[in-house]
């Protein structure tokens, strides 16, 4: 039994973090100075609120920390939430940051002669094997997923497989690798996520923070 009285907010490292900062400021959360230092080894940071700490983890891990109740609140992309589909997570606020889409792409040459309606099995390189499998299963196609953690665009070039499922924002990376987007799976934005048991057992505190983030997202 671990009873952690301090609320923990999990934030994703990297691209999204920059977009989260103005929201934090609007919600009245000021992390300690070390938080601004990207090279710091510190992983947990205090804030101007004695009852609220911030942790900085990989975007996929935000959902895991919050689902297990190790963190109470977090910011996670809808892509991550779709992939894990943890029943312990609530996503009450669309923060309207980190806009992009989860899409299927394939080489330009392949697209010219490809007829997706004839597919029974395809091989896909992706960071999102679960979403991919579910998406294709829903239309009767078995997707064999090769889990990669980055540089998906290389897979078709080097013959690992023909198709990829990845996040696309401008489409520039796809174009540079001679790939075209053939189908969109989902629109993605970042959400404020909350642990279910934490929301039920500490409703007042968590509702206050949810409300602050909701206002911050509306104001932005």
């Amino acid at each position: 039994m671990t009873t952690n009285e301090t609320l923990v907010l999990a934030l994703p490292k990297g691209r999204i973090l920059k977009e989260v900062k103005p929201l934090l400021q609007h919600a009245g959360i000021e992390p300690e100075p070390a938080f601004e230092d990207e090279s710091a080894r510190q992983l947990r940071f205090t804030t101007n609120h004695p009852g609220l700490d911030i942790i900085r983890v990989r975007s996929f891990d935000v959902a895991t920390f919050v689902a297990f109740g190790a963190a109470h609140l977090g910011v996670a992309g809808r892509d991550v939430l779709l992939e894990f589909d943890y029943p312990e997570l609530y996503a009450p606020v669309d923060l309207k940051i980190g806009h992009c889409r989860l899409a299927v792409a394939e080489p330009r040459d392949l697209m010219r002669e490809d007829d997706p309606s004839r597919w029974s099995h395809i091989r896909v390189a992706t960071k999102y094997p679960d979403v991919t499998r579910r998406h294709f299963a829903a239309r009767g196609v078995q997707a064999e997923c090769i889990k990669l953690n980055g540089a998906m665009e290389l897979a078709p070039q080097l013959g690992l497989c023909q198709r990829i499922v990845d996040l696309v924002s401008s489409g520039a990376t796809l174009a540079a690798n001679d790939l075209v987007e053939i189908e969109q799976i989902a629109e993605i934005t970042s959400r404020l996520i909350v642990n279910r048991a934490a929301l039920k057992t500490r409703p007042r505190e968590l509702d206050t923070w949810i409300e602050r983030f909701r206002e911050a997202a509306h104001a932005a």
Partner: protein, 403 residues
């Protein structure tokens, strides 16, 4: 580190419970059931395996994917290993106890087996204890189920309990009332389960405000009920929410200290519930300790009756409890009068009898983790070792040893 022999490896989700946890869990389950029995819920013991057709009919169908099956070489029928005991108790009520006076109060405790654990609760085999109140559909029955679950959990020492009251059939009924098609309803259901306000807005279209209102009507009971009352719900739905507020009121009177929240749209895991339901949480503990609510017993088993009840998950309950208090163990030297040792046990001591005479009884007592030693017919407390080495021989004896 010594290599683990292959034989020690268990299949995923299964584990050996060791001392003192095994005894603590059995003891806790017994104390929970004792509270149910003190409320006149009589214990039943259904079998571990049943005919698949019976176990998975009606409400049991919800657990079909989670159920292990095997072929019975005797009857040549498929058998299913229970993944939940509620449907078994409902079957007993509708068949063998159909003539027992209503309302019928039954309780149970036993092991269940599931095909898959979840990432959060990986256990595939775990103990359930629970109670069912069958043949009454009044509000006071709803209150009795919640209040008894709370009383039992508090009695075994679960700190900082919190009860979330839910209305699982509400969204389905509302969608029907508003003429929302099935496909949209399924999507809406999923969005509401995740409290995904953005998705609710997109799916509910012109009704978005109403559904957003339902989402916001979750939280501490008073606030939530106030927000729920302010929504313009169709009369058939408003009846359900009115009942919910009366149940909350009764619970607040009965248990003024209880942390009570309301969440009208919670639905996951309540697939067969037909009315007021609830989930039990303890602050700081991952996941839920138990859940329960209103349902109807299966018609095909006899008659269809209104029922309510709950199930506690022992693995979660044990996670919520502080570590067990160590037993008072007394070391009894060889040759002590058997009647004397029996009397010690009657007083509540755990006695450890010496099997072959040892040179130093005190050292032997320590080696066997005894906090006490029977010396000259008196129970003497052994001072804890100054260094925590477990090897009795190597620890220096403290002050005066009585041997």
């Amino acid at each position: 580190m010594s290599p683990t022999p292959d034989k020690a490896l268990l299949p995923a989700g299964l584990q050996d419970l060791l001392p003192p946890q095994a005894a603590y869990e059995a003891d806790t389950a017994g104390r929970l059931i004792a509270v149910f029995r003190a409320h006149a819920f009589e214990q039943v013991k259904p079998p571990l395996i049943e005919f698949e057709s019976a176990l998975l009919s009606g409400a049991g169908a919800a657990l079909s994917q989670q159920t292990f099956r095997l072929m019975d070489p005797v009857s040549q029928h498929m058998l299913a290993l229970r993944a939940d005991m509620t449907t078994q108790v409902a079957r007993i009520a509708a068949s063998r106890l159909s003539r027992a006076p209503r309302p019928l109060r039954l309780c149970y405790g036993g092991q269940v087996l599931r095909v898959k654990g979840t990432q959060l609760r990986p256990e595939r085999q775990f103990a359930q204890v629970g109670a069912e109140l069958i043949g009454s559909d009044v509000e006071t029955a709803d209150v009795e189920a919640v209040a008894m679950a709370v009383e039992a959990l508090e009695a075994v020492g679960v700190p900082r309990l919190s009860v979330d009251l839910n209305l699982p059939p509400l969204v389905g009924a509302l969608a029907e009332e508003l003429g929302i098609d099935d496909a949209t309803n399924a999507g809406l259901r999923q969005a509401l389960d995740r409290k995904d306000a953005a998705a609710v807005d997109t799916l509910a279209g012109s009704r978005a405000e109403l559904f957003r209102g339902l989402l916001r009507a979750a939280g501490p009971a008073d606030v939530a009920l106030e927000r729920l009352a302010a929504l313009h719900l169709p009369p058939r739905i408003a009846e359900q929410t009115a009942r919910l507020s009366r149940v909350v009121e009764l619970l607040q009177t009965a248990l003024p200290q209880l942390a009570l929240t309301v969440d009208p749209v919670e639905h996951r895991g309540f697939e067969y519930q037909t009315g007021i339901s609830f989930t039990l949480y303890a602050r700081g503990v991952r996941g839920e300790l138990g859940r329960g609510g209103r349902y109807e017993t299966d018609e095909s088993n006899g008659r269809c009756e209104a029922a309510t009840g709950f199930t506690l998950f022992m693995d979660s309950v044990m996670r919520a409890l502080p570590p067990p208090p160590p037993a008072a163990r007394v070391f009894v030297p060889l040759g002590t009068d058997a009647q004397r040792v029996r009397a010690l046990r009657a007083e509540g001591w755990v006695t450890i009898s010496e099997l072959s005479a040892s040179a130093d009884a005190e050292a032997e007592a320590r080696r066997q983790h005894c906090g006490y030693l029977l010396q000259n017919d008196h129970v003497v407390r052994l001072e804890p070792d100054s260094d925590q080495s477990n090897n009795g021989e190597s620890t220096p004896t403290t002050t005066d040893d009585g041997a």
